[in-house]
Every structure is written in C-alpha cells, then in structure tokens.
Symmetry: C2
Subunit: 392 residues, 2 copies
C-alpha cells in the first residue's frame, strides 16, 4: 500500500458535542499534540487541514503517521488514505488500484462513501459505480459484494473538491487531548496500579507530574529505577509535555512511624504523609489534585474505611482514584496495552516496612492519635528540603 499519501484522523464524539468555544480550543490542542507526536517520531508532515470534524494529514509516510497519531489522546481512529480529486472517474481509477492491491480471491467486499460539499453525484452513486467497476475489473478473483460482513472494505470520503480513499480503520486511544485539563500530581510507585491510574487521567486530558516516594532503606535502588522507567513509559504518551519527576526521600519518615506509632498503622501513616507532601508539590506545580492507583479493597490500606482515613489527610486538593472500580486483571490488561506492564513486574524490593497484620478498618481517631506523637510539619519540611527533581 505504498501509494498512501494522507491520513484521515477522526476524533471523538465527546469533543464534537462540546460548546463551540470549548470545541475549538480542544481541536487546537489536539492538532498541536498531533504535530508534536509526528515530530517526535520523525514522521514528515506536509500539512494538516481540518474539515468537517476530521483532520486530513498530508505525508509521504502515511502508515507510520497513522500509527503515531493513533496513540495521541483524543484520536478515536485513523486511516492511511490516498487523496484524489472528487471527480468520479478519479475516485474510480484510484479505488481500482487500492482494491487491486488489497483484494484476494473469493473476497466479499463493500464500498462505503461519506460526502460533504456540492458534487454531481450522491454517496450511493459512488458506492454503486466503484463497486461495479471493481466487480468488472477483477473477474478472475470471483468477488462478491457483501455490505454486512465484508472481508475487504473500501472507504471513500468526499470533501468538496477532494476525496480520500482508504481500506483500513485503526482504532485510536480515545480520550481527550492532553492539556485540555490542568495538571495532577501523580503518586507513582513503579508498580502496576499507579502507572495505569496516571495514564487514565492523562487520557482524560490531565498532564501528570509523577512523584516517587523513595522508601530506602525499606526498598532499594531497583525500586527507584523501576519507578523512573515507568514514568518514562508514561511520558511516551505525552510528547511535548514536561518530563519532570519528583523523587521524595521517605525512608526517614517511615522510620519515625515505626519507632513511635503502632506498627499496624504504618501503611496508613505512610500514605497520609504521601498525600500531604503531594499537596505541597501540587502547590508548586499549580496542579489541581492528586491521582493515586488505589482500588477498593485491593490492599489492606485500600478498604473503604481506610480510604476514608487516607482521604482526610488531603486538605486542599481532591484525591482522584480512577482505579476504584477496577479488578486487578482489568488493571493488568491496560498496563499491557500502554506498555507499563513489563517494567512494573520487574523484580524490585517490596517495602519491608509493611506490617504483617495491618489495620483493615482503622478509625480516624486512632490514626490522628498516633500522629500526635510525630512532628508532621517538620517531617514534611525535611522531605521537601531534600527532594530531587529529575527530567527524564
């Protein structure tokens, strides 16, 4: 299919139903993100035009472009395409060529046409004419028309004086263009859940500032490296956006908790501290909330009662938990799709500060009581003073 010279980029119904002003802003953002992605992947782009809820991209590397663009948030599907004039004879001639290189003996095929602008023919005329000419043109292939369940589909999009022919539709990643929402501070452990949670809010338009809490000596260097590598994979989905990661030393905090507080509460105290420090970083980064990978009941600290205890530690920002309703298997499936799975399952030292019998239904009162033995504010300040900002 070396003859493709264009890509049809379709974007979501959710963008289409926005109010005019919002829709235009979203389209501009989407277009900018598409351009950045093409540049990042070294795919040449000779121009992009917007027409009737589509982008039409001109490029000498249509298949590579289609593949890159399909991974831009907000894109619902793409097709490598061949551009012609909207003259019916041009459409027919080029359709025959496309069909010739794609059809196999005995195939059932369909021609679909969508049309905008003023032409002397209707969409049905196009389907009928192209379909008949394909039947006539390849008698040796013993083809049959089948609109319901074809082996080969030829699509024709007529736009005013131009037409775009394609034979394949690649599903896009969906969602909203990255950057149409403000930033979120993401708690990123390097495990499966947190990366998927960050990716899901990115998919809905929010750039994520990952924060990794370094629990050394309760974890080790491999754990840190795994988190940074996970962040790298996430940033592959955010071409052109900041690649800054915060690494917060958290081991000393854990040591305090273990020394002064009931061991069964350590995980909750740890997480409450993470929320508090994340709020400070959200302030610095002008983020509008925190995102975490918690799923109801997945771990002891994630029972509904414990989530309530955790939530109360975030005073200024909402804690967003996109995985709340996910089964582990569902999270794993997304992790595989987005490329974080292989990194997340890599060997790394699990946190050894975890209690063997953590509280599964803590009361806020007992946790606050335990925290009274700590100088929370001083611990936060100390952590913030020694945090590292890394650009990946």
């Amino acid at each position: 299919m070396g003859r493709f010279d264009s890509v049809i980029i379709r974007y979501g119904g959710e963008i289409g139903i926005k109010a005019d002003w919002t829709r235009r802003a979203y389209e501009r953002r989407l277009l900018a993100n598409i351009r950045k992605s093409l540049k990042h992947h070294g795919v040449p782009c000779e121009g992009i035009i917007r027409k009737y809820g589509r982008f039409y991209l001109k490029t000498s590397s249509a298949e590579e472009a289609a593949s890159a663009v399909s991974r831009v948030f907000g894109v619902s599907s793409v097709s490598a395409a061949l551009e012609t004039t909207s003259k019916l004879e041009d459409i027919v001639a080029n359709s025959l060529e496309l069909a010739g290189s794609g059809l196999k003996r005995g195939d059932r095929f369909a021609v679909r046409c969508r049309r905008t602008g003023e032409q002397a023919y209707s969409s049905v005329d196009v389907c009928r004419e192209v379909g008949q000419r394909i039947l006539d043109g390849f008698p040796e292939l013993n083809l049959k028309v089948n609109l319901k369940c074809p082996d080969f589909e030829l699509g024709v999009e007529v736009r005013d004086d131009r037409a775009f022919l394609y034979s394949d539709i690649v599903k896009g990643v969906g969602g909203m263009p990255l950057g149409t929402q403000p930033k979120l501070a993401g708690l990123l452990s390097g495990g499966l859940d947190s990366a998927v949670a960050c990716w899901l809010v990115m998919k809905r338009g929010c750039p994520v500032v990952p924060i990794y809490f370094d629990n050394t000596p309760f974890t080790d260097e491999r754990t840190t490296q795994r988190a940074l590598d996970t962040a790298k994979v996430l940033f592959n989905w955010a071409t052109g956006f900041s690649t800054r990661v915060y690494v917060v030393p958290h081991g000393a905090n854990l040591e305090e908790f273990r020394r002064k507080c009931p061991r069964r509460l350590v995980c909750l105290l740890c997480k409450r501290m993470m929320y508090r420090i994340a709020e400070r970083i959200a302030d610095m980064e002008h983020a509008e909330g925190i995102v975490t990978g918690e799923a109801i009941g997945e771990q002891a600290s994630q029972t509904l009662r414990n989530l309530r205890v955790l939530d109360s530690a975030a005073e200024k920002y909402p804690v967003h938990r996109p995985l709340l309703g996910f089964d582990k298997a569902e999270t794993e499936q997304i992790a595989r799709k987005i490329g974080t799975y292989d990194v997340a399952i890599r060997g790394a030292k699990g946190c050894s500060a975890v209690s063997s019998s953590p509280r599964t239904a803590a009361k806020l009162g007992e946790v606050e009581q335990a925290e009274k033995k700590l100088n929370i504010e001083a611990l936060i300040e100390k952590s913030l003073n020694s945090l590292k900002k890394i650009s990946l």
Copy 2:
C-alpha cells in the same frame, strides 16, 4: 447437555491472595451471595461444597444455575459439569458421552485435566487416555487433537474421589463479593454515568444506597421514574441486600440558587448541595462515603477545577468517582452489559435549571461567596425533612 448435574464455580485470584482470615470471610460471603442468587432465581440447589479454591454446586438445573451464579460479584467463571467418581474408567465413560453430544465432524479437540488428591494416575494420563478413547470412539467424525486452538474442549477436574467434567467455561462478572466492604451512598440520576459508577463500586464489594435528587419542576415525573427503574436494575445485581432508595426533593433548592446566585454557578451549587445532603444520608445509613458518576471533563461541572470546588463541599466523607478516567463510550459499553443502558436512554426531561454558559473553571472563593447568600443549613434540613424512602 441435559446430563449436567453440577456447576464448578471459580473465584478470583484477588480473593485467593488475601490473608487467611480475610480470605475465609470473603469466601463465606461469596457462598451466602451465591445461595441468595439461586433462591432468587428459583434454581434448585442440592448442596455446595468448597474444595481447593472452588465451589462445587449440585443441582438438577446446572445451566440455569451457571447463568445465575456467573452474575454474582466475586465469581470469575463457571462451568456446568457432570460429576463422576475419580475412577479413570468412570471419567472416560462419561467423557465419551459429553464429547459425543458436543463434537462435530472435523473438529479439533483438546482434553485438559487438573487434579488434587491421591490417585493412581497423573493429569497427563487422564488427558492421554480420554483423548485416545474419543479418537477411537468417533472415527466417523474425523477428529484431530489440537491443544492450542481447539474447537471443542473437555475439562476434567479430579478432586480426591470425585471428578467433574465440563465442556464450556462461562466468564463471571468478577470483582469482590458484595458486602465485603461497607456501604456507599450513591448519587443516582437515572442517566448513564451514575448507574455505572454505582455498579462498579458494587462490583468491588460495596452495597450502594441510591439517592435520587428530584429537581421537579426543572425535571418531571419521567425523570424520577427513570431513576427508580435504574435502581431496580442495579438491585438485580444485589440479591438479598437492601433495596431502599432515597428520593430527595431538590427543586426548591435549585429555585433558591437561581434566585440568589449567579446563574453560571447553579450546577456547581446544586452538586455541592447534593454532596452535603448525601453526607447526612450516609450518616443515617452508616455508609463510608459517596459515589458519583463524574468523569474528568465530561461535563462543564466535571472539569478538574470544578471537581475541586465540588470536593470541598463534602466535609466528612470521601467522594468516590470510579468513572474518572472513562470515555463516554466505555461507560456506555458497561451500561449495556449491566442492563442500565436501555433505561438510561429513555426519554426524560433534562434539567432546565442548567445555565447555557456554566462556569468551567470556577474558583472556590466565588462559589463560597455565592453560598453566603443562602441559608445552606436550613435548606439541607428542609430537604431532609421531606425526603422519601422507597423500597423497590
């Protein structure tokens, strides 16, 4: 397959990895929920035994039972099965019968065996013997063994002195047994999103107390009925649990907001009020949080900035938003699966109190300023005094 007399019930890996005490509690709850579901569907059950991470159900209506049980939260898959002794000749004879009623000419087939207990044969012995006897027994069908991609699979589970034979695995709904987590108060509008959000937390074990805010005169009776019908569908997933719905008169509150506050803030004020009233109902119901159908950026009130403004209205409980990272199309897909879609898309009056140009990035300050013109506490009390509890 009328000869099936049992159902193999498999439950999730997530339950299996819980600590002993928790796992046993979850299994007990799952078993109780399965029994309630069978009773509700009028499916006879002559006994259930638990063995090695499975439930084996004895019943004269195996297919009906399998279908009902596959919809119980926590069940990962089910198979209608035929029970025999674990004597190899019994397994072979019954396998031949099962195979005979399921195999078609030219089929590729596979035999799989899992075994626990002390037997004189290995799992491989079972596969080899049964496979060979099937080949020998149906020469006219021209069968082939194909372990990788079979048309027909015969499963054998040997458990001590019993064996269970099956030829089909039905995927279960997954999740955690309902009731293993505390209750949540669910804001249920009758539209697509809120029902799916409630279902997702139910899937993770939380019973939901639906709360419908009746915006009459800005909506009408059809809107209320649609919400109640949606709740009914949700309760089909919660056999044996409470079917209580709260209906809160909310129109008078909206009138106040429209009279005294900027029209562009009405949706935010409305939702903040819903959160506050839901917190009171959560108190009455001993729920541990609120669940809503908000998805980032889906509506003007659901931008990240506005979610932050909303969040601050809930003072006592977390607001859980399982749809945060979902595209509308993904939510619709789940709605179809769980049966709420057809109800949700039914004609109903959309709320006419909505502004044509709502604030998409409100500041908490301006909203709090607007609320100063209202007697929030009095409005809450008035709503609570006239709320209706309905058992569906």
